[in-house]
Assembly symmetry: D2
């Protein structure tokens, strides 16, 4: 038996931090070390994550380099813009997995436009399902975990773009549960407001995940892809259902075969049988994306629908998957592939 990996989680009182801990508690190679927080430092984890009963009495400590040093792996689940300073001071032998946006974008101008401030840099992008990415993650010690929307939409559209089935003008409408917005105390996230209601926000290309999708899809297509993205807020805690479509390319054929070939090798991407369509509940708590694809002959469009749990495959599960790859563990270690349903 090898020594367990000692793992710290920065931002342990938030939703991404909680999901990381839920998964790490079931990971056989891991020992949970420091749990850090901002304003919640000094309080027990149980006050913020009552579902994590085995860790209820652990005290949250301040998010500092000192607390995070001395671990084999550090997961950062911090607000955007807070990762760079910490990461710079952690040793290059420590695996740092950032669940924030700081190191996702390659283009400093895009960072500047969408997030403002100085661009921290670019780390290997933690979406192993995209062509070439898995190799770059092996042995990496710095990894940028994708956003929740880019994860499912990039996986949904990559096969079609790589195979030239569609022209590069995609339309994405993705319905998300509220946990994607984090534990933010905003009126529009109150239960009274979200239950019984669907709404939209950041319409018309205003969502910060748009440049990330554009970056991913353009890389796969080998040419610029325009993305019209509309996020919907729906009354559930977890889950994203992304409806992705684009005009069929001339002579496009073999759609299902393209997707079957893509999914055959991916342990966490499941192509549903023909006639079945994804539901987010089937992926709840699992590190999976469920896909289905069809052709709308009348409208001349390919339509791909993907479902994921935004906190699992869309954040924390993807992060643990990347840790497994980086540290040469079997990629599926400790990661559920079965949703909690109904």
């Amino acid at each position: 038996m090898r020594m367990p990996l000692r793992v710290a989680v920065a931002g342990a009182s938030g939703y991404a931090g909680g999901e990381l801990l839920r998964l790490l508690l079931g990971h056989p190679e891991v020992e949970i070390g420091a749990l850090t927080a901002g304003g919640n430092a000094g309080t027990p984890l149980g006050a913020h994550q009552p579902h994590l009963a085995p860790l209820a009495d652990r005290t949250l400590v301040e998010t500092t380099v000192e607390q995070l040093a001395g671990h084999d792996v550090v997961f950062l689940a911090l607000p955007h813009g807070h990762s760079a300073e910490i990461a710079a001071r952690l040793g290059q032998d420590v695996l740092v997995v950032d669940c924030g946006a700081d190191y996702r974008l390659a283009d400093p101008a895009a960072w500047q436009r969408w997030y403002g401030g100085e661009h921290a840099g670019t780390w290997p992008y933690g979406l192993p399902e995209l062509p070439g990415n898995r190799d770059k993650l092996r042995g990496a010690r710095r990894i940028a975990v994708p956003g929740c929307y880019p994860t499912v939409t990039s996986i949904a559209l990559a096969p079609a773009l790589a195979a030239g089935l569609i022209t590069p003008e995609v339309v994405v409408v993705a319905a998300s549960g509220t946990s994607g917005a984090g534990k933010s105390l905003k009126p529009n996230l109150l239960g009274s407001e979200v239950m019984g209601s669907v709404s939209t926000y950041a319409v018309g290309g205003a969502h910060r995940h748009t440049p990330e999708m554009t970056q991913n899809l353009s890389a796969v297509a080998g040419r610029p892809v325009s993305v019209s993205f509309t996020p919907l807020l729906v009354p559930m805690s977890r889950g994203i259902l992304a409806t992705c479509s684009a005009p069929l390319a001339e002579g496009a054929s073999g759609v299902r075969e393209v997707y079957q070939a893509f999914c055959a090798d991916e342990p966490f991407v499941h192509l549903l049988p023909e006639g079945s369509w994804p539901a987010t509940s089937s992926t709840l708590g699992a590190n999976t994306v469920h896909l289905q694809v069809t052709v709308d002959a009348d409208a001349g469009r390919l339509v791909v629908v993907g479902a994921e749990d935004n906190l699992t495959k869309g954040t924390a599960g993807g992060a643990v998957q990347c840790m497994n790859i980086a540290l040469d563990l079997p990629e599926t270690t400790g990661l559920p592939t079965v949703g909690v349903a109904p």
Copy 2:
């Protein structure tokens, strides 16, 4: 004081029938007559619609021409294909408002393709907000109420198509509550399945409301419009949020002005202030559509989002609005414009 209108509702134990009765109970010119049902005939209405307390003891009678005769207005809320036989035998002076699909489509071939069987015919289309429709409804004695999805999407896109702001290839992704599927005993409509989950169905142009949208939008545009339509099922009882987009036409401008002009004269269509986006809860139980519109400059698309209550403006409220117009009552009589929120 004039004599009250005597109104019958066929299909009173279903969701559309229940919503008709809720509105008719608040309509000052109406007296509620026969309430008919299929398998539920002989039972009290209260057993099926416990919210309609004032009518709890009324007994449902069989849906027959004899029961429906002798009323000034007959609302039909029956399964598709059941309206024609009854309507044919009701007098031409009786106002028959059909909430089913039987008389919505003008093209018999479209009917044949999407619904099968013989086409019953075409009645004046009960969406007064589309150009020219209101005049055709005045004095009409047969009216076909639109489907719930076509109501909100046609209203959302009509101004842009009429003004030439977009090219005629529209993409619609619309999230609906479960009541749109009626009181059908299907496993996928069970509470355990729908709560905490978003799913999709009838993807790729397979939904029967597609030809109705195509018909409406092509009429407004004056040329064929292709519609890529994907419906989502979301965990709430009522409400539709439709995200509609299309490529901007060359030289398109004055988007907001076009929508302001359209909404100015419509008592039930409300353009939200800039920066606000529709939420279905704001329209719950109200006969209204809330709209917002923007331009996605990067993607070169116009995006319009519309919200409605599928049972109110999308079905029963639209039906009562049409009755008001047909019978020369003030169009807004008895129809709430304020949602029940939060």
Copy 3:
């Protein structure tokens, strides 16, 4: 036609204020005057209450006596402890209806224990369904609207206590939607926390509505009643379902007749047919309480279940009902008795 009543609402950006305005917009004798707020003063109502479209452009003003003066009726929907100062400076001819707790309790010691600070006083208690209350409300110019839990539980248990059917040790477990907690920015009220979860709070007699229930029930029983009250928070926006039970008194009989007699004269209390049990959806948006009662012979207890909408009959609807009584309007004016369901 008489002059409309000029009505002001203090606290118009909150949930109780919003519900007051929803109902007042449908009240035929009312003209809506000043809308006041605390921190939201200076912003348009539409930013906080997007469902109140007809009032979207009205600007919220500061909650001051100057703004509220000059109206026939002033509804106060303010945090506890803020009503007294304003009420003291409004003329005695103005009808002031307080939706807060300040004037509900008769016993200064109870006020001190449960709310702290000085007791403002006691106003006529706005629950007309309790014996003797309706008469006290006629012509009143100061009215204290009951809390949401006390409304439904007092109505549910009053008939049994008045008729001596039960011994005075009642157990109440009441499940409430989240709007009962107001628009408070607390983590446990976030949609992500409440959806898919039932929790409890203020267990063991710690909820501030306990002394109010005790006061009401003891008055009806004519002797001290002990109340064991446990509130549940359930994943919906609106509604309370209260399960109330107590040991049967010796020789208790005629249970159903007692409840039938009570409900016969009450326009807003509906006894369901035998075999049917209340559901909150049947009362959504309506000023009604739905009741059912039974005897558990094995356990020797009477069980009464009551449903209401906490914002309508439980707050704003009850307030408007009191206004109607105080000003000698028909008690049911402008108040819906039909829920919005499903």
Copy 4:
């Protein structure tokens, strides 16, 4: 490495069957054998349990003794009354774990009254947390898994009854998600009906779990216990929150110590820190019960609140826990103790 246990699940297309398979897929000592069904036999499991992706292509076979024979363990998740015939024909060396009610009650008269028909018999009762039960389960080859309500309420009240803290007249109001009713196609279980609504049913001692609670609690107390039980149906798929109270016994003291002592040795029962109250989401998908207890001094009652996932600890997780005990595996093998939240 020992040989895996070969396990069959009868009733694999239902909710209990699905949850058994979700847990068994994560159990390291188990190999999944026959999956049987009634009307769904012949179809793939994936059509009914899309979340169980690794088993999607497995075909359901008829529920017959022949299909179930040849396994080490057979879980029965069948409608009440269907287990006896099958169990009688499976070898005495096969571990049969019945998730139905057939073998739970000791008293044939109670069976007759509550379920009707002939009493099949009584098996060791699969609630190891009750005094003496764990020993009876070791080595057992027939086990009756408790009902979902009796599981949490028995665990919540057993410590107080065993320690003589309360008098034996308990009141239980328990709010349950809809999956407790199974995948039944009934109108009141449709999503449209349950979302946004709390209702009640089987009030006044009419629920079949009442005699099971009475049996358990009377055994613990050593004298007859009367149980007043009211179940609530709340808008979520999974979870039960049980509010249990009873009059304090004279001289009762040391309440918290009693519960601490009880929970200290139970791997799946978690006493929350003082001031925290259970939420069902904290137990979602986990084989745990979360408890909190307090004294209501004014009302003179002890109040205990317990939360569980009705499908996990309340059914399938409890069944797997019993299998572990019966077969001398570590009791916690393969059973999550961490909920999926938020």
